[in-house]
C-alpha cells in the first residue's frame, strides 16, 4: 500500500472512475451516432464559420462543425453538473499565470491540429481503435510534455 500511495498521493479511485466515464462518453457517441469523438477538431471546424480559406472550408470541417459544437457544449454541461452536484460549487481556480496558459495553449492548438489529434483523439480514440500511428503520437507528446513540464518547473523556480 505504501507504493500505491507514492504513485497516487491523492488516491487512485477517482482517476479510474473518471477515465471509465470519459470512455463511456466516447463509446456512447459511437454506439448511438457512429462518430469518433476526439476533442481537438472542434477548434478547426468552428473556424469554418468565420474563415473562408479553402483549408477551413473542407468538407470534413464544414460537415462536422455542428455536432462537434453540440458535443463541446455537452462537455461544459457535464462538468457543470459535476460542479453543482458533486463539488462544493465554489469556482475552481488555477494558480498558473495567464501567459503560461495562453502560450502553452497556443502550442497545444497548433500541434494538435497539425498532428490531427490530441489526448482524446490519438490517446483515447486512436489507441481504442488500435492504430499504431496514434500510439507513436501518444509516446511523442508524452515525451515532449514530460520534458517541457520538467524544464519549465525548474526554470520558473
Amino acid at each position: 500500500m505504501q507504493s500505491l500511495s507514492s504513485l497516487f498521493p491523492l488516491g487512485w479511485q477517482h482517476y479510474l472512475v473518471g477515465g471509465l466515464l470519459i470512455g463511456s462518453g466516447a463509446a456512447l457517441l459511437f454506439v448511438l451516432t457512429g462518430r469518433i469523438g476526439g476533442m481537438s477538431t472542434v477548434f478547426s471546424s468552428t473556424w469554418s464559420y468565420l474563415v473562408q480559406r479553402p483549408f477551413f472550408q473542407q468538407a470534413r470541417f464544414v460537415e462536422s462543425r455542428r455536432w462537434r459544437l453540440v458535443y463541446a457544449l455537452g462537455l461544459i454541461l457535464g462538468a457543470l453538473l459535476w460542479w453543482q452536484g458533486w463539488a462544493d460549487g465554489a469556482p475552481q481556480h488555477t494558480t498558473l499565470p495567464w501567459w503560461q496558459l495562453l502560450l502553452g495553449g497556443f502550442f497545444v492548438g497548433y500541434g494538435a491540429r497539425l498532428g490531427n489529434g490530441c489526448t482524446s483523439g490519438h490517446g483515447i480514440c486512436g489507441l481504442g481503435s488500435l492504430q499504431w500511428p496514434s500510439l507513436l503520437a501518444v509516446l511523442t507528446f508524452m515525451a515532449t510534455g514530460f520534458l517541457a513540464a520538467n524544464l519549465f518547473a525548474r526554470w520558473l523556480v
Partner: protein
C-alpha cells in the same frame, strides 16, 4: 442534424465532461503533477477510457449493423508522417507548459474555472494559425 442525434451527441459529451471533472483532469496542476512524475493518476484515466472505447469500437460494429441513430459507423484512420510527428511533439510541448489539453480546456468552463479561458483562447489561436499556414 436530427434532434434525436443532437440529443445523443449532447448526452455523450456530458458523460465525457462529467468524467473529465471526476478525474480532476480539468485542473492543470494535476496534469502537470503527472508530467513531473509526482502522480501517475493520468495513466489510470487514460487506461480506463481506452479500455471502454476499445470494447465499444471492437464490438459495436459486430453486434449492431449500424449505429442506433445513424446509418454507418465512422472510422478515423491516423497516419504517421511529418505532420503527425511534428504536431504531436509541439502539442506535448504546449501541454507540458500549461497542463491543459483541448477537452479539459472546454470542460473547465463548466466548473467556473474562467482563468482557463486563456488556454482556450490559446488553443483556438493555435488552430487558426495552423489552418492559415496549411495549403490545401
Amino acid at each position: 442534424m436530427n434532434a434525436l442525434r443532437a440529443l445523443a451527441t449532447l448526452a455523450a459529451g456530458m458523460l465525457f465532461g462529467f468524467g473529465l471533472s471526476v478525474s480532476t483532469m480539468v485542473r492543470p496542476e494535476v496534469v502537470l503533477s503527472f508530467l513531473n512524475l509526482n502522480d501517475m493518476g493520468l495513466m489510470l484515466v487514460m487506461g480506463g477510457a481506452v479500455a471502454v472505447v476499445l470494447l465499444a469500437y471492437q464490438f459495436a460494429p459486430r453486434v449492431l449493423r449500424r449505429p442506433v441513430l445513424d446509418d454507418h459507423f465512422h472510422t478515423h484512420p491516423s497516419a504517421w508522417n511529418q505532420g503527425t510527428a511534428t504536431g504531436a511533439a509541439l502539442f506535448g510541448l504546449g501541454w507540458g507548459i500549461c497542463g491543459v489539453c483541448p477537452g479539459p480546456a472546454i470542460a473547465a468552463l463548466g466548473t467556473g474555472n474562467l482563468e482557463l479561458l486563456w488556454a482556450l483562447a490559446g488553443i483556438a489561436l493555435g488552430a487558426l494559425v495552423q489552418g492559415l499556414r496549411e495549403r490545401v
